[in-house]
Amino acid sequence: MNLSLFLFLIGILGFILNRKNIILMIIAIEIMLLAVTLLVLISSYSFDDNVGQTFSIYIISIAGAESVIGLSILVAYYRLRGTISLRT
């Protein structure tokens, strides 16, 4: 449980500290989703429950859809502006 909490903290810090690199912000969101899924999986496995694995499949699919939309927005932004820097 400590592993997933520290991983979530690392994801939050990566999201805050890199306000300019938008690829790294999407990577930080992926790390946070990994931490949440690890927390759900580990606690449901230690309670000998099956619902956690079902929900982890939902979370993985939502994470895939989210990263796809984020990256396509990134490509459209690059096509409009010519750069991906958030701060001008």
Partner: protein, 206 residues
């Protein structure tokens, strides 16, 4: 032995995620993200969640990391555009400190920190207890102690033994298709919408 591998994989997950958010080049960062996901999948497999661990490697390394690499190779990033140095970087540091300390305060108020939660420390205490009982009554070097060592080395993990036992996947499919079926339908609609949104956003409008 399993505890040792679980500790090594947990430590490797934390270190490679730190390297992923602090590296300058985005390609190196993606490589460290792949290392993070592979080590987290190994952690899950070693503690016994087999199917989700393997599907983590398939989904994240096979699909999402390749998608990130494709986008990074497709757009032309100048490294001086996305780096923030000196004054720009330390401007965000007080916000990061505030949010990090608030997060740890809230989490450790809800869940009090316990030394039994850390596997490395509990491993040390268990070995100390074993050593203590070994010294106190020395006729304990017998079948028990030898069987403990043999079990620690040869009884590797549950994932090695249960490789042909599909009960975990069976129960997962049962719960996914009975009471979780409506969530599965909503999920498929969300994935379809994601595909449509990607096509519409990246369409070149002439």
């Amino acid at each position: 032995m399993t505890t040792f591998f679980v500790n090594i994989l947990a430590l490797g997950t934390l270190f490679s995620s730190v390297f992923a958010i602090t590296s300058k080049n985005p390609v190196i960062s993606i490589i460290f993200v792949i290392a993070t996901f592979v080590q987290a999948a190994g952690y899950l497999i070693f503690i016994g969640v087999n199917f989700i661990g393997i599907s983590y490697i398939v989904i994240y390394v096979g699909a999402i990391a390749v998608l990130f690499l494709f986008v990074i190779m497709m757009i032309n990033i100048k490294l001086t555009d996305i780096l923030e140095t000196g004054n720009q970087y330390t401007k965000n540091l007080p916000l990061a400190l505030a949010i990090g300390s608030l997060f740890t305060y809230v989490i450790f108020t809800i869940i009090p920190f316990n030394l039994n939660n850390v596997p490395a420390l509990s491993l040390i205490s268990e070995s100390l207890i074993n050593l203590n009982s070994l010294i106190l009554n020395s006729n304990l070097i017998s079948k028990d102690f030898i069987s403990i060592i043999v079990n620690a080395y040869y009884n590797l993990s549950l994932s090695d033994i249960n490789i042909t036992d599909f009960t975990q996947i069976e129960t997962l499919g049962y719960s996914l298709y009975t009471y979780g079926a409506i969530f599965l339908i909503i999920l498929s609609v969300i994935l379809l919408l994601a595909m449509l949104a990607t096509i519409i956003i990246s369409r070149s409008n002439k």
